[in-house]
């Protein structure tokens, strides 16, 4: 009788221990689920500004040192049109295409500095008018993480496309 009562007590204690363990396991699982959901939420990407869009817009307005006539300087956009349509010259007899190429290279180099200390790994610029390639250059490495933008404007019925991609 005494032995039987001891056995019943042990069994009850075991059941209680199992119950407690079950509660802990259930709570732990709920916590893990909660943690996973929260961590997933924190990985959400914040709304980004497309810097590349603004970059293209801004460099198109840049006033170059190529003079069209006295006190009238070409912007990059004007130079693209001049280079594409007329292959004209500046007042100081430099070719508009050369000035365009030189100035754009400098602008892109200064704006998207590639080094180990910066997140920029490379870039690529392509300016074309229908099937003609006006400007094309790239630097650094192409990666799978990139931001790009393409903008288009027309001149004398010809569509000019500017395509810039920055690799991170």
């Amino acid at each position: 009788m005494n032995l039987f009562s001891k056995m019943v007590m042990r069994k009850k204690a075991q059941e209680e221990m199992i119950g407690f363990a079950l509660i802990i396991i259930i709570v732990a699982v709920i916590l893990l689920v909660f943690l996973a959901v929260s961590l997933n939420k924190s990985n959400k990407e914040v709304l980004g500004v497309n810097e590349v869009d603004s970059f293209i817009q801004s460099f198109l307005s840049y006033t170059t040192d190529c003079e069209e006539d006295l006190n009238n300087y070409y912007s990059i956009q004007d130079l693209i049109i001049e280079c594409n349509n007329y292959e004209s010259f500046c007042l100081d007899e430099r070719k508009t295409c050369d000035v365009l190429n030189f100035t754009l290279r400098e602008i892109v180099d200064e704006s998207w500095k590639i080094s180990e200390n910066t997140p920029i790994k490379g870039y690529e610029l392509l300016i074309g008018a229908e099937e003609i390639e006006l400007i094309s250059f790239k630097a650094g490495n192409s990666t799978n993480n990139y931001k790009g933008s393409m903008q288009e404007f027309s001149s004398r019925g010809m569509s000019i496309i500017i395509d810039f991609t920055a690799y991170y």
Partner: protein, 179 residues
């Protein structure tokens, strides 16, 4: 009979003790879990506030350049996107105190990128336009910074006749991080 009663009482006491310990353990356990959740929640509230601030700065930087206080309007020919009137900004800088709480951020500056200048010269009424940093609102740079490309345009004159000059710059907006 008395021995039996004593043993029964002892058993009951042990049972009560066992239940009390169990209740205590469960309470402590749930309190700990609650504390953990609370700490986690407070952390995520701070994180959410920081993300909101970052979003705000990003939206602001993209809209600031096109706001009436900054934009070129039609002053340089046709209306341009992401174009800042440098002359207007210099006038705004003079009365920056009035705009102290207007944008709700700690720092706004425009930094010329091209043409490059090795020296960092801050623009004021004496150095303008031969300078490369326009500090519109100066505050701590201890938070998150967002920048965007803009074209910085101004009116220049050569031998008395004016012309437009646009340069490439970056508009930088910063806010102090939430502690």
């Amino acid at each position: 009979m008395v021995v039996g009663e004593k043993s029964h009482n002892k058993k009951a006491q042990i049972k009560i003790q066992q239940t009390a310990f169990m209740l205590l353990a469960i309470t402590v356990f749930f309190v700990l879990v609650g504390l953990f959740v609370l700490v986690f929640k407070v952390g995520s509230i701070k994180e959410t506030a920081t993300i909101l601030e970052e979003d705000n700065a990003m939206l602001l930087v993209s809209r600031l350049a096109n706001s009436p206080e900054f934009s070129c309007g039609n002053a340089f020919g046709t209306s341009k996107v992401d174009c800042i009137d440098a002359d207007k900004i210099m006038a705004l800088k003079e009365s920056s105190e009035k705009y102290k709480d207007f944008w709700g951020i700690s720092n706004i500056e425009i930094r010329k990128i091209y043409p490059t200048d090795e020296l960092n010269i801050e623009c004021d009424s004496f150095t303008y336009p031969n300078c490369n940093i326009i500090q519109i609102k100066s505050g701590g740079l201890v938070g998150y910074s967002v920048s965007n490309f803009v074209s910085l345009c101004r009116k220049e004159s050569f031998e008395g006749s004016p012309y437009n000059k646009c340069e490439l710059a970056k508009l930088i907006v910063s806010y102090e991080s939430i502690q």
